[in-house]
Amino acid sequence: MTPVLSCDRVSFAYGGRPVLRDVSCVVAPGEAVAVIGRNGAGKTTLTRLIAGLERAGTGTVWVGGRDAARHRADELARRVAVVFQHADQQLFARTVREDVAFGPRALGVPHRESAIRVAAALAELRLDDVAHEHPYDLPAPMRKLAALAGALALAPVLLVLDEPTAGLDRALRARVASVIRTRRAAGCAVLVVTHDIAFAAETLDRALVLDGGAVAFDGAIAELCRDPVRLRALGLREPPVAALSRTLDLPGRPVRIDDAAPIVAACCASGGLPYIGESHGQT
Protein backbone atom coordinates (compact mmCIF):
# COMPACT_ATOMS: atom_id res chain seq x y z
CA MET A 1 0.00 0.00 0.00
CA THR A 2 1.54 3.33 -0.99
CA PRO A 3 2.02 5.58 1.99
CA VAL A 4 0.17 8.86 2.00
CA LEU A 5 3.13 10.67 3.50
CA SER A 6 6.74 9.68 3.43
CA CYS A 7 9.53 11.76 4.93
CA ASP A 8 12.98 10.44 4.26
CA ARG A 9 15.80 11.91 6.35
CA VAL A 10 14.47 15.42 6.13
CA SER A 11 16.54 18.28 7.46
CA PHE A 12 15.70 21.94 7.45
CA ALA A 13 17.47 25.00 8.76
CA TYR A 14 16.11 28.48 9.21
CA GLY A 15 18.68 31.21 8.89
CA GLY A 16 21.50 28.85 9.76
CA ARG A 17 19.72 27.41 12.76
CA PRO A 18 18.79 23.74 12.32
CA VAL A 19 15.09 23.20 12.92
CA LEU A 20 14.62 19.65 11.67
CA ARG A 21 17.31 17.00 11.79
CA ASP A 22 17.13 13.79 9.85
CA VAL A 23 13.40 13.28 10.28
CA SER A 24 11.94 10.15 8.75
CA CYS A 25 8.42 8.85 9.01
CA VAL A 26 5.82 7.01 6.96
CA VAL A 27 2.07 7.44 7.25
CA ALA A 28 -0.32 4.95 5.66
CA PRO A 29 -3.88 5.68 4.54
CA GLY A 30 -6.31 5.70 7.44
CA GLU A 31 -3.61 6.25 10.06
CA ALA A 32 -3.98 8.88 12.75
CA VAL A 33 -0.70 10.32 13.95
CA ALA A 34 -0.06 12.90 16.65
CA VAL A 35 2.99 15.08 16.13
CA ILE A 36 4.02 16.12 19.59
CA GLY A 37 6.82 18.13 21.11
CA ARG A 38 7.78 21.22 23.00
CA ASN A 39 7.34 24.68 21.49
CA GLY A 40 10.16 25.08 19.03
CA ALA A 41 10.71 21.36 18.46
CA GLY A 42 10.03 21.74 14.74
CA LYS A 43 6.43 20.56 14.50
CA THR A 44 5.04 23.52 12.57
CA THR A 45 8.05 23.51 10.26
CA LEU A 46 7.28 19.92 9.39
CA THR A 47 3.73 20.86 8.46
CA ARG A 48 5.03 23.67 6.25
CA LEU A 49 7.26 21.23 4.42
CA ILE A 50 4.35 18.86 3.90
CA ALA A 51 2.18 21.74 2.65
CA GLY A 52 4.85 22.72 0.13
CA LEU A 53 5.44 26.16 1.62
CA GLU A 54 9.09 25.41 2.30
CA ARG A 55 11.63 23.13 0.66
CA ALA A 56 13.55 20.66 2.75
CA GLY A 57 17.27 21.33 2.96
CA THR A 58 18.10 17.67 2.55
CA GLY A 59 15.95 14.59 2.26
CA THR A 60 12.62 14.16 0.52
CA VAL A 61 9.01 14.66 1.44
CA TRP A 62 6.50 12.66 -0.57
CA VAL A 63 2.90 13.72 -0.19
CA GLY A 64 0.17 11.68 -1.85
CA GLY A 65 2.69 10.29 -4.31
CA ARG A 66 4.18 13.69 -5.18
CA ASP A 67 7.54 15.14 -4.30
CA ALA A 68 6.72 18.18 -2.22
CA ALA A 69 9.90 19.90 -3.32
CA ARG A 70 8.84 19.80 -6.96
CA HIS A 71 5.33 21.05 -6.52
CA ARG A 72 3.79 24.31 -5.41
CA ALA A 73 1.53 24.52 -2.39
CA ASP A 74 -1.55 24.99 -4.54
CA GLU A 75 -0.71 21.87 -6.54
CA LEU A 76 -0.25 19.81 -3.38
CA ALA A 77 -3.63 21.08 -2.19
CA ARG A 78 -5.17 18.41 -4.36
CA ARG A 79 -3.75 15.77 -2.04
CA VAL A 80 -3.15 17.37 1.32
CA ALA A 81 -5.28 19.83 3.25
CA VAL A 82 -3.50 21.78 5.95
CA VAL A 83 -5.20 23.80 8.66
CA PHE A 84 -2.61 26.00 10.32
CA GLN A 85 -2.51 27.36 13.81
CA HIS A 86 -4.52 30.56 14.19
CA ALA A 87 -6.70 29.42 11.32
CA ASP A 88 -9.33 31.63 12.86
CA GLN A 89 -7.36 34.58 11.54
CA GLN A 90 -6.98 33.24 8.04
CA LEU A 91 -10.56 33.20 6.87
CA PHE A 92 -11.19 35.47 3.97
CA ALA A 93 -14.63 35.20 2.43
CA ARG A 94 -17.73 37.15 3.24
CA THR A 95 -19.65 34.23 4.63
CA VAL A 96 -18.62 30.96 6.21
CA ARG A 97 -20.17 29.03 3.34
CA GLU A 98 -18.21 31.02 0.74
CA ASP A 99 -15.03 30.48 2.68
CA VAL A 100 -15.54 26.73 2.83
CA ALA A 101 -16.30 26.76 -0.91
CA PHE A 102 -13.08 28.60 -1.71
CA GLY A 103 -10.92 25.48 -1.75
CA PRO A 104 -12.99 23.28 -4.09
CA ARG A 105 -13.57 26.24 -6.42
CA ALA A 106 -9.86 27.07 -6.54
CA LEU A 107 -9.16 23.45 -7.43
CA GLY A 108 -11.66 23.59 -10.26
CA VAL A 109 -14.17 21.17 -8.75
CA PRO A 110 -17.46 21.38 -10.72
CA HIS A 111 -20.09 23.57 -9.14
CA ARG A 112 -22.52 20.84 -8.13
CA GLU A 113 -19.88 18.62 -6.61
CA SER A 114 -18.46 21.62 -4.79
CA ALA A 115 -21.85 22.51 -3.30
CA ILE A 116 -22.28 18.93 -2.08
CA ARG A 117 -18.87 18.92 -0.42
CA VAL A 118 -19.49 22.28 1.24
CA ALA A 119 -22.85 21.21 2.58
CA ALA A 120 -21.38 17.96 3.90
CA ALA A 121 -18.47 19.69 5.61
CA LEU A 122 -20.74 22.27 7.25
CA ALA A 123 -23.15 19.60 8.41
CA GLU A 124 -20.37 17.44 9.81
CA LEU A 125 -19.11 20.30 11.95
CA ARG A 126 -22.63 21.47 12.74
CA LEU A 127 -22.03 24.91 11.27
CA ASP A 128 -25.21 25.01 9.20
CA ASP A 129 -26.87 27.66 11.29
CA VAL A 130 -23.90 30.01 11.03
CA ALA A 131 -23.05 29.29 7.41
CA HIS A 132 -24.45 32.61 6.22
CA GLU A 133 -22.63 34.67 8.82
CA HIS A 134 -19.54 36.75 8.26
CA PRO A 135 -16.62 34.81 9.72
CA TYR A 136 -15.50 37.71 11.89
CA ASP A 137 -18.93 37.96 13.46
CA LEU A 138 -18.33 34.55 14.98
CA PRO A 139 -16.22 33.86 18.05
CA ALA A 140 -12.72 32.52 17.44
CA PRO A 141 -13.48 28.85 18.29
CA MET A 142 -16.26 28.76 15.68
CA ARG A 143 -13.92 30.29 13.11
CA LYS A 144 -11.46 27.48 13.79
CA LEU A 145 -14.17 24.97 12.98
CA ALA A 146 -15.02 26.90 9.81
CA ALA A 147 -11.38 26.64 8.75
CA LEU A 148 -11.51 22.91 9.39
CA ALA A 149 -14.65 22.66 7.26
CA GLY A 150 -12.76 24.37 4.47
CA ALA A 151 -10.07 21.70 4.65
CA LEU A 152 -12.62 18.87 4.62
CA ALA A 153 -14.19 20.31 1.48
CA LEU A 154 -10.89 19.71 -0.32
CA ALA A 155 -11.44 15.95 0.11
CA PRO A 156 -7.77 15.26 0.77
CA VAL A 157 -5.99 11.95 1.23
CA LEU A 158 -4.00 13.53 4.02
CA LEU A 159 -5.42 15.96 6.56
CA VAL A 160 -2.89 17.96 8.56
CA LEU A 161 -4.15 19.91 11.56
CA ASP A 162 -1.93 22.25 13.59
CA GLU A 163 -3.26 22.74 17.13
CA PRO A 164 -6.87 22.13 16.17
CA THR A 165 -8.13 22.08 19.76
CA ALA A 166 -6.36 25.12 21.24
CA GLY A 167 -8.97 27.26 22.97
CA LEU A 168 -11.82 24.85 22.20
CA ASP A 169 -14.16 23.61 24.90
CA ARG A 170 -15.11 19.97 25.45
CA ALA A 171 -18.09 20.00 23.09
CA LEU A 172 -16.17 21.54 20.20
CA ARG A 173 -13.21 19.23 20.81
CA ALA A 174 -15.64 16.34 20.48
CA ARG A 175 -16.69 17.66 17.05
CA VAL A 176 -13.08 17.74 15.92
CA ALA A 177 -12.55 14.22 17.26
CA SER A 178 -15.62 13.00 15.41
CA VAL A 179 -14.38 14.52 12.14
CA ILE A 180 -11.03 12.79 12.57
CA ARG A 181 -12.71 9.47 13.19
CA THR A 182 -14.97 9.65 10.14
CA ARG A 183 -12.13 10.75 7.88
CA ARG A 184 -9.97 7.84 9.02
CA ALA A 185 -12.77 5.44 8.39
CA ALA A 186 -12.99 6.83 4.88
CA GLY A 187 -9.32 6.08 4.31
CA CYS A 188 -7.91 9.55 4.80
CA ALA A 189 -4.76 9.79 6.90
CA VAL A 190 -4.74 12.39 9.64
CA LEU A 191 -1.73 14.16 11.11
CA VAL A 192 -2.40 16.30 14.18
CA VAL A 193 0.24 18.63 15.58
CA THR A 194 -0.74 19.29 19.15
CA HIS A 195 0.27 20.12 22.71
CA ASP A 196 -2.95 18.52 23.87
CA ILE A 197 -1.68 15.02 24.59
CA ALA A 198 -4.92 14.14 26.31
CA PHE A 199 -6.82 14.82 23.07
CA ALA A 200 -4.20 12.89 21.11
CA ALA A 201 -4.48 9.90 23.41
CA GLU A 202 -8.26 9.84 23.02
CA THR A 203 -8.45 10.33 19.27
CA LEU A 204 -5.22 9.16 17.67
CA ASP A 205 -3.20 5.95 17.67
CA ARG A 206 0.34 6.86 16.94
CA ALA A 207 2.69 9.47 18.33
CA LEU A 208 5.63 11.02 16.54
CA VAL A 209 7.58 13.02 19.08
CA LEU A 210 10.02 15.71 17.98
CA ASP A 211 12.70 16.88 20.34
CA GLY A 212 15.13 19.52 19.16
CA GLY A 213 14.14 18.82 15.58
CA ALA A 214 14.83 15.09 15.68
CA VAL A 215 12.45 12.17 16.07
CA ALA A 216 12.60 11.05 19.69
CA PHE A 217 9.73 8.56 19.60
CA ASP A 218 7.59 6.99 16.91
CA GLY A 219 5.13 4.41 18.14
CA ALA A 220 1.84 3.74 19.86
CA ILE A 221 0.61 6.76 21.74
CA ALA A 222 -0.57 4.55 24.58
CA GLU A 223 2.97 3.33 25.07
CA LEU A 224 4.21 6.92 25.25
CA CYS A 225 1.54 7.95 27.74
CA ARG A 226 2.45 5.10 30.06
CA ASP A 227 6.04 6.30 30.35
CA PRO A 228 6.09 9.35 32.64
CA VAL A 229 9.86 9.51 32.76
CA ARG A 230 10.10 9.76 29.01
CA LEU A 231 7.27 12.31 28.88
CA ARG A 232 9.08 14.48 31.40
CA ALA A 233 12.34 14.23 29.48
CA LEU A 234 10.57 15.38 26.33
CA GLY A 235 8.95 18.31 28.13
CA LEU A 236 5.46 16.83 27.85
CA ARG A 237 2.66 16.79 30.38
CA GLU A 238 1.39 13.39 31.49
CA PRO A 239 -2.24 13.22 30.33
CA PRO A 240 -4.79 12.93 33.16
CA VAL A 241 -6.11 9.44 32.42
CA ALA A 242 -2.61 8.01 32.16
CA ALA A 243 -1.66 9.76 35.40
CA LEU A 244 -4.76 8.38 37.05
CA SER A 245 -4.03 4.85 35.85
CA ARG A 246 -0.50 5.03 37.10
CA THR A 247 -1.30 6.56 40.47
CA LEU A 248 -4.12 4.15 41.20
CA ASP A 249 -2.31 1.27 39.52
CA LEU A 250 -5.36 0.42 37.44
CA PRO A 251 -5.15 -2.98 35.70
CA GLY A 252 -4.34 -2.61 32.01
CA ARG A 253 -3.18 0.97 32.59
CA PRO A 254 -5.86 2.52 30.36
CA VAL A 255 -5.08 5.88 28.73
CA ARG A 256 -8.56 6.70 27.45
CA ILE A 257 -11.61 7.80 29.42
CA ASP A 258 -13.86 5.10 27.96
CA ASP A 259 -11.32 2.41 28.81
CA ALA A 260 -10.67 3.70 32.31
CA ALA A 261 -14.31 4.19 33.34
CA PRO A 262 -15.38 0.52 33.53
CA ILE A 263 -12.16 -0.38 35.32
CA VAL A 264 -12.73 2.36 37.88
CA ALA A 265 -16.34 1.22 38.29
CA ALA A 266 -15.20 -2.34 38.89
CA CYS A 267 -12.48 -1.26 41.31
CA CYS A 268 -14.91 0.88 43.26
CA ALA A 269 -17.39 -1.94 43.47
CA SER A 270 -14.72 -4.24 44.83
CA GLY A 271 -13.47 -1.55 47.20
CA GLY A 272 -10.04 -1.45 45.61
CA LEU A 273 -9.75 2.35 45.40
CA PRO A 274 -9.12 4.87 48.18
CA TYR A 275 -11.73 7.31 46.85
CA ILE A 276 -14.87 5.30 47.01
CA GLY A 277 -17.60 6.43 44.68
CA GLU A 278 -21.04 4.96 45.05
CA SER A 279 -22.69 3.60 41.99
CA HIS A 280 -26.11 5.01 41.31
CA GLY A 281 -27.10 2.51 38.74
CA GLN A 282 -26.47 4.57 35.59
CA THR A 283 -24.04 3.56 32.92
Binding site: R38, N39, G40, Q85, H86, Q89, P139, A140, P141, M142, A166, G167, L168, D169, R170, A171, L172, H195, I197, A198, G235, L236, R237, P239, P240, V241, A243, L244, T247, L248, I257, D258, A260, A261, P262, V264, A265, C268, L273, P274, Y275, I276, G277, E278, S279, H280, G281, Q282, T283
Partner: protein, 265 residues
Amino acid sequence: MTLLGLERVSFWYPASDRPALRDVSLRVGRGEIVALVGNVGAGCSTLLSVAAGLAPRVTGGRLEGTVTFPGPGTTGEGRALLLPVPWTQLSGMGASVRDEVAFGPANLGWPLARIRAAAERAMAGAAVAHLADRDPLTLSGGELQRVMLAGVLAMEPALLLLDEPTAELDGDGAAALWALVRDEAGRGAAVIVATTDLDAVPVVAHRVVWLADGRVRADATPTTVFGDDAIWRDGPGGPTVAEVWRTAGLAPPWPVSVTMAARAR
Protein backbone atom coordinates in the same frame (compact mmCIF):
# COMPACT_ATOMS: atom_id res chain seq x y z
CA MET B 1 -10.94 42.11 51.63
CA THR B 2 -13.11 42.38 48.54
CA LEU B 3 -11.15 43.77 45.67
CA LEU B 4 -13.78 43.51 42.97
CA GLY B 5 -17.53 43.58 43.38
CA LEU B 6 -20.08 43.12 40.64
CA GLU B 7 -23.63 43.68 41.82
CA ARG B 8 -26.46 42.58 39.50
CA VAL B 9 -24.53 43.62 36.42
CA SER B 10 -26.10 43.37 32.99
CA PHE B 11 -24.26 44.49 29.89
CA TRP B 12 -25.28 45.04 26.28
CA TYR B 13 -22.75 45.54 23.50
CA PRO B 14 -23.50 48.47 21.19
CA ALA B 15 -26.25 47.79 18.67
CA SER B 16 -27.22 44.55 20.36
CA ASP B 17 -30.55 43.68 21.98
CA ARG B 18 -29.32 40.51 23.57
CA PRO B 19 -27.47 41.14 26.83
CA ALA B 20 -24.02 39.61 26.96
CA LEU B 21 -24.25 39.54 30.76
CA ARG B 22 -27.43 39.13 32.78
CA ASP B 23 -27.76 40.01 36.41
CA VAL B 24 -24.24 38.92 37.32
CA SER B 25 -23.16 39.27 40.94
CA LEU B 26 -19.62 38.36 41.88
CA ARG B 27 -17.11 39.23 44.56
CA VAL B 28 -13.41 38.48 44.44
CA GLY B 29 -11.07 39.10 47.36
CA ARG B 30 -7.34 39.48 47.80
CA GLY B 31 -5.43 36.25 47.29
CA GLU B 32 -8.37 34.52 45.64
CA ILE B 33 -8.13 32.71 42.32
CA VAL B 34 -11.45 32.40 40.51
CA ALA B 35 -11.78 30.29 37.38
CA LEU B 36 -14.39 31.43 34.88
CA VAL B 37 -15.78 28.61 32.74
CA GLY B 38 -18.52 28.41 30.17
CA ASN B 39 -19.44 27.45 26.64
CA VAL B 40 -18.42 29.58 23.69
CA GLY B 41 -20.34 32.85 23.78
CA ALA B 42 -21.37 32.46 27.43
CA GLY B 43 -19.91 35.84 28.31
CA CYS B 44 -16.60 34.98 29.99
CA SER B 45 -14.55 37.44 27.92
CA THR B 46 -17.22 40.11 28.42
CA LEU B 47 -17.14 39.60 32.17
CA LEU B 48 -13.38 40.06 32.15
CA SER B 49 -13.75 43.28 30.13
CA VAL B 50 -16.26 44.61 32.63
CA ALA B 51 -14.02 43.63 35.53
CA ALA B 52 -11.11 45.40 33.82
CA GLY B 53 -13.09 48.61 33.55
CA LEU B 54 -12.98 48.43 29.76
CA ALA B 55 -16.65 47.76 29.19
CA PRO B 56 -18.48 50.02 28.55
CA ARG B 57 -15.82 52.72 28.75
CA VAL B 58 -13.81 51.51 25.73
CA THR B 59 -16.09 48.96 24.11
CA GLY B 60 -19.18 51.12 24.16
CA GLY B 61 -22.55 49.63 25.03
CA ARG B 62 -24.75 49.84 28.09
CA LEU B 63 -24.17 48.61 31.62
CA GLU B 64 -26.68 48.23 34.42
CA GLY B 65 -25.82 47.41 38.00
CA THR B 66 -22.67 48.40 39.86
CA VAL B 67 -19.03 47.54 39.50
CA THR B 68 -16.84 48.39 42.45
CA PHE B 69 -13.08 48.34 42.35
CA PRO B 70 -11.34 50.37 45.02
CA GLY B 71 -8.45 51.21 42.74
CA PRO B 72 -6.49 54.40 42.25
CA GLY B 73 -8.78 55.62 39.52
CA THR B 74 -11.43 54.81 37.00
CA THR B 75 -8.92 54.49 34.21
CA GLY B 76 -8.18 50.91 35.13
CA GLU B 77 -4.93 51.28 37.00
CA GLY B 78 -4.45 48.54 39.47
CA ARG B 79 -6.04 45.97 37.18
CA ALA B 80 -4.67 44.36 34.05
CA LEU B 81 -6.10 42.03 31.44
CA LEU B 82 -4.20 39.48 29.37
CA LEU B 83 -5.85 38.57 26.07
CA PRO B 84 -5.61 35.20 24.33
CA VAL B 85 -3.90 36.39 21.15
CA PRO B 86 -0.50 37.90 21.97
CA TRP B 87 -0.07 39.78 18.69
CA THR B 88 -3.17 41.86 19.36
CA GLN B 89 -1.64 43.15 22.55
CA LEU B 90 1.80 43.80 21.14
CA SER B 91 2.37 47.52 21.22
CA GLY B 92 5.04 47.38 18.54
CA MET B 93 6.78 50.20 20.36
CA GLY B 94 9.49 48.07 21.84
CA ALA B 95 12.46 47.18 19.70
CA SER B 96 13.32 44.65 22.40
CA VAL B 97 11.32 42.45 24.73
CA ARG B 98 12.59 44.51 27.64
CA ASP B 99 11.10 47.70 26.20
CA GLU B 100 7.90 45.93 25.26
CA VAL B 101 7.45 44.73 28.84
CA ALA B 102 8.19 48.26 30.08
CA PHE B 103 5.45 49.71 27.84
CA GLY B 104 2.68 49.24 30.41
CA PRO B 105 4.49 50.67 33.46
CA ALA B 106 5.74 53.58 31.35
CA ASN B 107 2.15 54.44 30.48
CA LEU B 108 1.40 54.56 34.18
CA GLY B 109 3.97 57.31 34.58
CA TRP B 110 6.20 55.56 37.11
CA PRO B 111 9.76 56.77 37.67
CA LEU B 112 12.24 55.10 35.34
CA ALA B 113 14.00 53.13 38.08
CA ARG B 114 10.75 51.58 39.22
CA ILE B 115 9.78 50.71 35.66
CA ARG B 116 13.07 48.95 34.98
CA ALA B 117 12.95 47.02 38.25
CA ALA B 118 9.35 45.94 37.69
CA ALA B 119 10.14 44.86 34.14
CA GLU B 120 13.13 42.77 35.22
CA ARG B 121 11.12 41.12 37.96
CA ALA B 122 8.20 40.41 35.61
CA MET B 123 10.46 38.95 32.92
CA ALA B 124 12.11 36.68 35.46
CA GLY B 125 8.71 35.57 36.75
CA ALA B 126 7.42 34.80 33.27
CA ALA B 127 10.68 33.00 32.36
CA VAL B 128 11.43 35.30 29.44
CA ALA B 129 14.52 36.99 30.87
CA HIS B 130 16.67 35.13 28.35
CA LEU B 131 14.68 36.81 25.56
CA ALA B 132 15.12 40.34 26.94
CA ASP B 133 17.13 41.66 24.00
CA ARG B 134 15.19 39.91 21.25
CA ASP B 135 12.84 41.66 18.84
CA PRO B 136 9.30 40.70 19.92
CA LEU B 137 8.25 40.19 16.29
CA THR B 138 10.67 37.28 15.93
CA LEU B 139 9.22 35.29 18.82
CA SER B 140 6.94 32.28 18.59
CA GLY B 141 3.34 32.44 19.82
CA GLY B 142 4.17 30.75 23.11
CA GLU B 143 7.16 32.98 23.80
CA LEU B 144 5.20 36.11 22.90
CA GLN B 145 2.33 35.14 25.16
CA ARG B 146 4.77 34.83 28.06
CA VAL B 147 6.23 38.23 27.16
CA MET B 148 2.73 39.74 27.19
CA LEU B 149 2.17 38.11 30.57
CA ALA B 150 5.35 39.75 31.80
CA GLY B 151 4.07 43.03 30.39
CA VAL B 152 0.91 42.67 32.41
CA LEU B 153 2.67 41.59 35.60
CA ALA B 154 5.10 44.48 35.33
CA MET B 155 2.16 46.81 35.94
CA GLU B 156 1.82 45.18 39.39
CA PRO B 157 -1.95 44.90 39.21
CA ALA B 158 -4.00 44.25 42.31
CA LEU B 159 -6.55 42.52 40.11
CA LEU B 160 -5.15 40.17 37.48
CA LEU B 161 -7.49 39.11 34.70
CA LEU B 162 -6.49 36.38 32.25
CA ASP B 163 -8.42 35.33 29.14
CA GLU B 164 -7.37 31.86 27.92
CA PRO B 165 -3.74 32.41 28.92
CA THR B 166 -2.55 28.90 28.01
CA ALA B 167 -3.94 28.63 24.48
CA GLU B 168 -0.52 29.25 22.90
CA LEU B 169 1.56 27.44 25.51
CA ASP B 170 2.93 23.92 25.64
CA GLY B 171 2.82 21.66 28.71
CA ASP B 172 5.79 23.20 30.48
CA GLY B 173 4.71 26.73 29.61
CA ALA B 174 1.21 26.16 30.94
CA ALA B 175 2.50 24.65 34.19
CA ALA B 176 4.81 27.63 34.65
CA LEU B 177 1.95 30.04 34.05
CA TRP B 178 -0.29 28.41 36.63
CA ALA B 179 2.56 28.45 39.14
CA LEU B 180 3.00 32.16 38.46
CA VAL B 181 -0.72 32.76 38.98
CA ARG B 182 -0.52 31.06 42.36
CA ASP B 183 2.49 33.20 43.27
CA GLU B 184 0.66 36.40 42.39
CA ALA B 185 -2.33 35.38 44.46
CA GLY B 186 0.06 34.50 47.26
CA ARG B 187 1.36 38.08 47.04
CA GLY B 188 -2.16 39.39 47.53
CA ALA B 189 -3.46 39.88 44.03
CA ALA B 190 -6.99 38.82 43.15
CA VAL B 191 -7.08 36.69 40.02
CA ILE B 192 -9.90 35.85 37.62
CA VAL B 193 -8.97 33.48 34.80
CA ALA B 194 -11.26 32.39 31.97
CA THR B 195 -10.06 29.04 30.66
CA THR B 196 -11.03 25.91 28.77
CA ASP B 197 -8.23 23.94 30.50
CA LEU B 198 -10.56 22.34 33.01
CA ASP B 199 -7.93 19.89 34.26
CA ALA B 200 -5.88 22.78 35.59
CA VAL B 201 -8.84 24.48 37.30
CA PRO B 202 -9.11 22.36 40.47
CA VAL B 203 -5.36 22.53 40.98
CA VAL B 204 -5.14 26.30 40.57
CA ALA B 205 -8.47 27.87 41.46
CA HIS B 206 -10.19 28.28 44.81
CA ARG B 207 -13.51 28.88 43.17
CA VAL B 208 -15.22 28.14 39.89
CA VAL B 209 -17.83 30.42 38.34
CA TRP B 210 -19.87 28.82 35.58
CA LEU B 211 -21.34 31.32 33.13
CA ALA B 212 -24.11 30.22 30.81
CA ASP B 213 -25.80 32.59 28.40
CA GLY B 214 -24.56 35.60 30.34
CA ARG B 215 -25.82 34.34 33.70
CA VAL B 216 -23.99 32.89 36.67
CA ARG B 217 -25.21 29.32 37.01
CA ALA B 218 -22.78 28.21 39.66
CA ASP B 219 -20.24 29.83 41.97
CA ALA B 220 -18.61 27.37 44.34
CA THR B 221 -15.57 25.13 44.89
CA PRO B 222 -14.37 23.01 41.98
CA THR B 223 -15.60 19.83 43.61
CA THR B 224 -19.10 21.22 44.05
CA VAL B 225 -19.41 22.80 40.62
CA PHE B 226 -18.01 19.84 38.70
CA GLY B 227 -19.93 17.40 40.84
CA ASP B 228 -23.20 18.71 39.48
CA ASP B 229 -24.33 16.90 36.37
CA ALA B 230 -25.78 20.16 35.00
CA ILE B 231 -22.40 21.52 33.98
CA TRP B 232 -21.75 18.33 32.06
CA ARG B 233 -25.11 18.35 30.31
CA ASP B 234 -25.49 22.04 29.54
CA GLY B 235 -22.05 23.43 30.08
CA PRO B 236 -18.38 22.90 29.35
CA GLY B 237 -18.04 19.74 31.47
CA GLY B 238 -15.19 19.35 33.87
CA PRO B 239 -11.81 17.78 34.60
CA THR B 240 -10.93 14.48 32.98
CA VAL B 241 -10.69 12.60 36.27
CA ALA B 242 -14.22 13.62 37.14
CA GLU B 243 -15.30 12.57 33.66
CA VAL B 244 -13.89 9.09 34.25
CA TRP B 245 -15.90 8.78 37.45
CA ARG B 246 -19.01 10.15 35.79
CA THR B 247 -18.68 7.87 32.77
CA ALA B 248 -18.26 4.96 35.20
CA GLY B 249 -21.75 5.70 36.49
CA LEU B 250 -20.61 6.54 39.99
CA ALA B 251 -22.42 9.05 42.18
CA PRO B 252 -20.99 12.53 42.87
CA PRO B 253 -19.04 14.05 44.48
CA TRP B 254 -16.38 12.94 42.03
CA PRO B 255 -12.66 13.48 42.45
CA VAL B 256 -11.59 16.45 40.35
CA SER B 257 -7.90 15.69 40.24
CA VAL B 258 -5.59 12.69 40.30
CA THR B 259 -4.40 13.68 43.77
CA MET B 260 -7.95 13.73 45.04
CA ALA B 261 -8.67 10.36 43.47
CA ALA B 262 -5.68 8.89 45.27
CA ARG B 263 -6.82 10.13 48.67
CA ALA B 264 -9.36 8.40 50.82
CA ARG B 265 -12.52 10.48 51.14
